[in-house]
């Protein structure tokens, strides 16, 4: 039986940038055992030498010419912005590195 602890879920929630209440962390942790057991079945087969498929169709080298097409207007670009100022998206103070 696979398990995922409450702390592991908390760490994953941090990576996924989702605030979670204690109840949510515990709930997800408790459901994860069953789900992980189910998905861990992918490890049952011997997969040595099997190629990984990332794309269902075998396409290659799809590119576009380096030609400029019209952009959105700034009004369209900012139309969904929760807040804006000076034709820019206004966001809360950023704590990250400079």
């Amino acid at each position: 039986m696979s398990t995922l602890s409450r702390d592991e879920v908390a760490k994953l929630a941090g990576l996924a940038r989702i605030e979670m209440t204690e109840a949510e962390l515990v709930e997800i942790a408790s459901q994860f055992g069953t789900i992980l057991d189910a998905v861990a079945r992918v490890q049952e087969l011997n997969l040595d030498g099997v190629k990984a498929t990332s794309h269902p169709q075998p396409l290659e080298n799809i590119a576009r010419p380096d030609v400029v097409q019209p952009s959105l207007t700034p009004e369209e670009a900012l139309s969904g912005a929760p807040a804006q100022e000076e034709q820019r998206f206004r966001v809360p103070q950023i704590l990250g590195e400079e």
Binding site: I62, R64, P65, D66, L72, T73, P74, F89, Q93
Partner: protein, 499 residues
């Protein structure tokens, strides 16, 4: 007592690692068709793709692939027959998708090198910088921090985001670790970045303007004791935005690491930020937890598998490597070191070479570009390349002087005319009625007039005091409106005064 630099390099070996980000100069962005013009009004060069609107999909710019392969070839890399884009997942407000499309374990170019030469106490010395990989990715948007004391991110009340830069093609060039540079580590790093800049400029794939951020360097530095076998802990310094800063940042980090190690401390593996004003680095905000970028192949983009014949056709277009070219030109033109360095710094090699290729004497070509033309450019505060004067103009000018149709002084007037847009040197000569006064009769008349007017001075010269002739020659030149050949005037004057 903290060690000084000489003491640090006597005790420790520095190990470098350099990551250079280059913005390509494509017309459109990496994964969408928005323009890439620098300095446009905020959010005027954005679309559903580079704003990461729900549903939008990336499609790669073929020119960006081509430019990256050219860079790889110019850096002696192998070109991968199969490479993929991967998503680098982390949250940051200037990155609209909250993942960056980059390349992970399948970069398009790998295993290359760049040779650089620096001056050492023992004379010129070459260092080989090995290139681990060259890969494609995309730039982020720009944030403006509002409020707080300094306009810096820390203490700001909020930030304003402009996504014009988001999605501009970036190429990242990563070196392998660079050991063995000893006390020359800062110079080697600077020379490497300078060489890269020259190579990229020669390829025409980037504006390589460090001050505009189109070429940016992150420097990894660690120290190990001379007899140690294990690498020391490294710091990664970001924001190194000029060649001089590369040198200063590395030197500063070497001193900082040594001071920590000397006092029994441990160097922290961290990101630091270079401060242009102090030349020191500052610790970045430490992250609450180690990043886990969860790279995986981007399912929206298909593999890049460049055909061998295409790669070869790109290889055939590569220009001569800048360092080799410089060496060749210096020898061909027999230019003294100092002078050559001045040409490199003034960025006139291309233009001088073009002038020489049009038949001009290399010394004269250099003198014109580095002298009169540079002066005008300086006065006007513009780049030489932005002036209306071309290599063809300068070549023509030099030939007019050589044939005696112009004196150097007159030629300078002609340069002014050409720069002012009055046409080719011959056209300027014709329009301005500039011509050398070669008629001995006219010159003699002027000499007689001047000597009569300044009889005392003429008498001194007649008496053998030759330096006094200068004033008379000047007056004659003035009399002939500068169109006389000064040497000729001197010859005739002295003869007239019995010398």
């Amino acid at each position: 007592m903290a060690l000084n630099y000489e003491e640090v390099v006597a005790k420790y070996n520095p190990v470098l690692g350099l990551e250079v980000h280059v913005e390509l100069n494509t017309e459109s962005k990496m994964f969408c068709s928005c323009a890439t013009t620098f300095g446009a009004e905020p959010n005027t060069q954005t679309c559903p793709v580079c704003l990461a609107l729900p549903g939008a999909l990336p499609v790669v710019n073929e020119k960006a692939i081509e430019s990256t392969i050219k860079i790889g070839l110019a850096l002696n890399c192998k070109i991968a027959p199969y490479s993929r884009f991967a998503r680098k997942n982390y949250f940051y407000p200037d990155m609209p998708k909250n993942f960056q499309i980059s390349q992970y374990d399948e970069p398009i170019c790998f295993d290359g090198y760049v040779d650089v030469e620096i001056e050492t106490e023992e004379g010129p010395k070459q260092f080989r910088i090995e290139v681990e990989r060259v890969h494609m990715e995309e730039d982020t948007g720009k944030s403006l921090h509002v409020g707080g004391a300094t306009g810096r991110i820390h203490g700001a009340d909020y930030s304003l985001l402009d996504y014009n830069r988001a999605g501009i093609p970036l190429v990242e060039i990563v070196t392998k670790i660079v050991p063995g540079t000893g006390k020359y580590a800062p110079e080697v790093a600077k020379a490497y970045v300078a060489e890269l800049r020259d190579i990229l400029r020669g390829l025409g794939v980037s504006d390589v303007k460090m001050e505009q951020g189109s070429l940016r360097c992150d420097a990894n530095v660690s120290l190990m004791l001379k007899d140690a076998t294990e690498l020391g802990t490294r710091s990664e310094t970001k924001n190194v935005n000029s060649l001089r800063s590369v040198e200063r940042a590395i030197r500063g980090e070497m001193l900082r690491h040594a001071e920590i190690l000397e006092t029994g401390g441990k160097v922290k593996q961290e990101t630091r930020h270079f401060q242009e004003d102090t030349g020191l680095t500052r610790s970045g905000r430490s992250k609450e937890q180690a990043e886990d970028y969860r790279y995986f192949p981007d399912p929206d983009l298909v593999p890049v598998t460049p055909a061998a014949d295409w790669i070869e056709s790109l290889r055939a277009t590569l220009p001569e490597r800048p360092s080799i070219r410089r060496k060749r030109l210096k020898e061909q033109w027999a230019v003294p070191d100092k002078e050559f360095e001045a040409m490199v710094n003034a960025d006139v090699l291309d233009i001088v070479e073009a002038t020489v290729l049009l038949g001009a004497d290399s010394t004269k070509a250099r003198t014109w570009w580095l002298g009169e033309v540079s002066r005008i450019a300086n006065d006007q505060g513009v780049a030489i390349a932005d002036l209306a004067i071309t290599p063809a103009h300068v070549a023509e000018l030099i030939s007019l002087v050589a044939s005696g149709e112009l004196t150097d002084k007159l030629a300078r007037q002609v340069v002014e005319g050409v720069v002012a847009g009055e046409g080719t040197p011959s056209e300027v000569v014709a329009k301005r009625g500039i011509k050398v006064v070669n008629d001995d009769g006219a010159l003699m008349a002027a000499i007689e007039k001047v000597c009569a007017a300044q009889a005392d001075t003429a008498e001194k010269v007649r008496g053998g005091h030759l330096p006094a002739a200068g004033a008379l020659i000047g007056a004659v030149m003035k009399e002939t409106a500068g169109q006389a050949d000064a040497a000729k005037v001197r010859e005739l004057l002295l003869k007239y005064l019995g010398q």
